[in-house]
Amino acid sequence: MFSIFNRAASAQMKAFSRKASTQAGSASNISNKGAAIAASISGLSAALYSYQFGVFDEAFASGLEEGLHAPHFPWSHNGYLDSFDHNSIRRGYQVYREVCSSCHSLDRIAWRNLVAVSHTSDEARAMAEEVEYTDGPNDQGESFQRPGKLADYMPAPYPNEEASRAANGGALPPDLSLMVKARHGGADYIMALLTGYQDPPAGISVAEGMNFNPYFPGGQIAMGRVLFDGLVEYDDGTPATTTQMAKDVSTFLSWASEPEHDDRKKMGMQAVIVLSAMTAISLYVKRLKWSPIKTRKLVYNPPK
């Protein structure tokens, strides 16, 4: 990479010296100095570039190493005053429960978190009771099984990381609780990834057990395409297309990693209104109090 800059610098130097040859000797000295400065600046910026972004290597030029940047999708919660679409959160939870949760855990979300967000307390309690939790110790000092309650956290599909890797060909399905915050692009990335599965283009070979997805860094992902049209049946009658399910589950995961989102935006609006009113008042009061000082006139009558 440095060679490009050095070539540019030496070309500059040549241009300087050619110009200098037609002029007086002292001018040639100055322009040589200028060329040296230019060369050192370009060398410095090259060093800075490689320090910040890594050394540019043509072998890594396919663009797949970082993954494609996800497009910006028009989420219903994009604007400064837009809340989450809770209908979508409810559908997204259904997709997570019926599809994603067979491999991905969601261990920072408890059943109680769904109450008054996507489910009524009766619904959430009924869903929790379907799951058996280990509790204890009892009077004999032993652990026992009991049905879940609202305070329990979502059950994980695998007891530990090793079991999870063993069941998925060595790949670890990550926990999804904070996934929207954990990935560059957030919900856009998850949406693009879930809908981005395709056949590998010519010239790109995909390893055994891997799938091609241009949005995943490296282009190869162990998770296969899971969302297909009509996979789940929404109870509100929305047609369950692949994109609809991907959108709903991305919205659900956005909520899971930012449950305070709606309150935050509403309080932000209130704070901006109050603080801008207070700023306007304080500016007015300042002008009011300073006006006698600003408008007074000092007259100096020199002694005669």
Binding site: H86, N87, V117, S118, D235, D236, M269, I273
Partner: protein
């Protein structure tokens, strides 16, 4: 008696009424501001929030039971 004079005599003149005015005024402003901003927020996000979804769920649950 002008409005400003009435205001001064009834609310601001005595310290007891002045302090009471500030306390009551603060409370009233807090409630009023909250009602106003909440109505703006709810209007802007109509159809997306939990109370509307809850009404939908309950209506559906009742029709299923029948």
């Amino acid at each position: 008696m002008s409005f400003a004079q009435t205001l001064n005599n009834t609310l601001f003149k005595r310290n007891s009424t002045y302090v009471a005015t500030i306390f009551v005024g603060t409370f009233a402003f807090g409630v009023g501001f909250d009602v106003l901003t909440t109505s703006i927020w709810d209007k802007h996000n109509a159809g997306k929030q939990w109370p509307e979804l809850r009404a939908k769920i309950l209506a559906k649950g009742e029709s299923d039971d029948e």
